[in-house]
């Protein structure tokens, strides 16, 4: 139910959703963007609130869905010494938050040839010796808007456990907030990316059934079937689709087989 057809909600409780147009009666709150005060609708995300206030994102905005890592925001709250981090497209504004966008944070990325690399921890240690400047202060973890246990994956890399580091860093969106807060000046997110590349290429088990299927496709096994489909008329295709055999929704895995097995 959108707020337009909501007759019962009182005007003061009306949610404005993520619209940048303020409906009548919607509450606004003060936020401070780079030190300047703006009154913005209370239910907007930081990104929408900034756009409402007149900012235009040329950089520092990407997917607007919380996964591209382009819009990290650093903010404080009134009367609280702590730093907070969030993605502008995901974090809802709070009264009296003091914020700034950090669309990019410089961090050196080592050069390597993933095809020629030796897939061991020592390779990562040699490419990123600053790993050993980590003092386990945990500022990286505290700065991560994705809740990644950054210190734990850095520790895993130092301990030589690349698989663990790849799994722990899986949600990283490369926003760079970890590096922005690091006492040891580590480029954590670049190190993690290298580790995931090594893991994906050399360590993670290959899916045997996938390789078999790729080989089948490359051998031309399915070419004739595709040709036949492409030559069908619209009506023939529709009929084929409607009459297709279909696995029952609740069939226990591995129990159902189609009667026509010529394509398996």
């Amino acid at each position: 139910m959108s707020h337009h057809d909501s007759k019962s909600a009182s005007p003061m409780q009306v949610a404005t959703g993520d619209r940048a147009i303020l409906p009548e009666g919607a509450r606004t709150i003060p936020i401070y963007v780079m030190g300047k005060r703006y009154e913005v609708p209370e239910t907007l995300t930081i990104m929408k609130a900034m756009e409402y206030a007149g900012f235009k994102f040329l950089r520092g905005a990407g997917c607007r869905g919380g996964i591209c890592g382009a819009c990290p925001t650093v903010y404080r709250k009134e009367g609280d010494y702590k730093l907070y981090f969030g993605l502008a497209c995901q974090t809802v504004v709070e009264p009296n938050m003091y914020l700034a966008q950090i669309p990019f944070y410089p961090a050196n990325r080592a050069k390597y040839d993933i095809e020629a690399i030796s897939p061991v921890a020592e390779t990562v240690h040699a490419l990123y010796p600053e790993l050993f400047r980590c003092v386990a202060c945990n500022n990286c973890t505290k700065a991560c808007p994705m809740g990644v246990e950054v210190l734990d994956y850095i520790s895993a890399i130092k301990q030589g456990d690349l698989a663990r580091a790849a799994h722990l860093s899986f949600d990283c969106i490369q926003c760079g907030m970890c590096a922005s807060r690091c006492m040891g000046e580590l480029p954590q997110y670049h190190v993690a990316q290298l580790v995931r590349r090594i893991y994906g290429k050399y360590i993670q088990p290959r899916a045997a059934h996938l390789e078999k299927r790729v080989a089948e496709i490359e051998s031309g096994k399915y070419d004739a079937m595709l040709d036949a489909l492409q030559k069908m008329s619209h009506e023939e295709l529709e009929k084929l689709y409607k009459e297709r055999e279909r696995e029952p929704d609740m069939a226990p895995p591995g129990t159902w087989m189609p009667e026509d097995t010529q394509y398996l």
């Binding site: 980590c134 945990n138 210190l151 850095i154 520790s155 301990q159 456990d161």
Partner: protein
């Protein structure tokens, strides 16, 4: 009471021989020896600067992790990790002001007051497993193999975290006696191996390593036993260079104490990880009837 094992980064990379032999030995003895699930670097070196608290955060965080995982005691194998963890623990127990500063800084963790006890594996063997039990379970008595007990610095310095009263020098000897080896005390048992100078002043590091090895040889030792990856680097991995430069007269087999334990318990050379110890001498053990190719008991 729950005792957990804290490995340390080096044992997972360059010193797997120190770790694997210990883990296999504990399995053979039927002793519960579970690694902490979550841990970070121990900090490696205890900072002595009075106003430098940030370098205590790493070891304190490990102790908090141990507490979070329900452990009363953590056992270390590496001398450096032992030293750093034990000293940070002492600081958190004794220095109220620094404790508060560190706890405040680590506000995302539970406050820590030194609840966990830090043990070195040798103390764990003596006090929680028992040297008698070890002695009973020995399958390959080391037939009086003469072994120099090399402590290095960090097991015995400073005195308030020493694994035994520093003047005693009994613990390693008692351990070796439990596996039927003959401990050899020698003048340089607690001389620093030189690792702190290995980058800034490599010749000084070589000289002190040579002095330690020659001193052990003169005392009649057939091998040196130690518990620190840095000491192993200085005393074992640098031996080729020491021989080349005529700094030592003969090569000296070097073992981690856990490798001798595993060997005495009859574990195969795979469990003892002799493959990772360039200066250990399997031939020497063979002369004491250690079976090289087959394990006496399964791993």
């Amino acid at each position: 009471m729950k005792i957990s094992y804290y490995p340390g980064c080096t044992l997972k990379t360059k010193a797997r021989n120190l770790e694997d032999a210990a883990v296999a030995s504990m399995a053979a003895l039927g002793v519960d020896f579970q690694e902490l699930e979550r841990w970070n670097c121990c900090g490696a070196v205890h900072s002595l600067a009075d106003d430098d608290l940030i370098h205590h955060v790493a070891p304190v965080r490990d102790l908090v992790r141990a507490m979070d995982q329900g452990s009363d005691k953590v056992v270390t194998l590496c001398s450096m990790c032992y030293n750093t963890l034990a000293r940070a623990n002492l600081l958190m127990r004794q220095d109220e002001v620094k404790r508060k500063t560190i706890n405040d800084f680590m506000s995302e963790e539970k406050d820590y007051h030194g609840e966990v006890e830090v043990l070195h594996f040798l103390n764990f063997l003596r006090d929680h497993v028992g040297f008698d039990k070890v002695r009973e379970r020995v399958k390959v008595p080391l037939n009086g193999l003469k072994v120099a007990t090399y402590y290095g610095c960090t097991l015995v310095r400073p005195g308030n975290v020493a694994i035994e009263p520093p003047a005693d020098r009994k613990l390693m000897a008692e351990f070796l006696e439990a596996i039927w080896a003959s401990p050899v005390d020698f003048a340089d048992a607690t001389t620093c191996c030189g690792s702190y100078q290995v980058l800034a002043n490599p010749d000084a590091a070589l000289d002190v390593a040579a002095r330690i090895l020659e001193s052990a040889t003169r005392a009649g030792a057939e091998a040196v036993v130690l518990s620190c990856p840095l000491c192993e680097y200085s005393l074992a991995r640098k031996q080729d260079e020491l021989l080349q430069k005529n700094k030592i007269s003969k090569d000296v087999p070097v073992f981690y104490f856990t490798q001798l334990l595993a060997a005495a318990l009859g574990l195969g050379s795979e469990a003892c990880r002799f493959d990772l110890s360039p200066r250990c001498s399997v031939e020497l053990l063979k002369s004491k009837n250690y079976p090289i190719d087959a394990a006496v008991v399964g791993v």
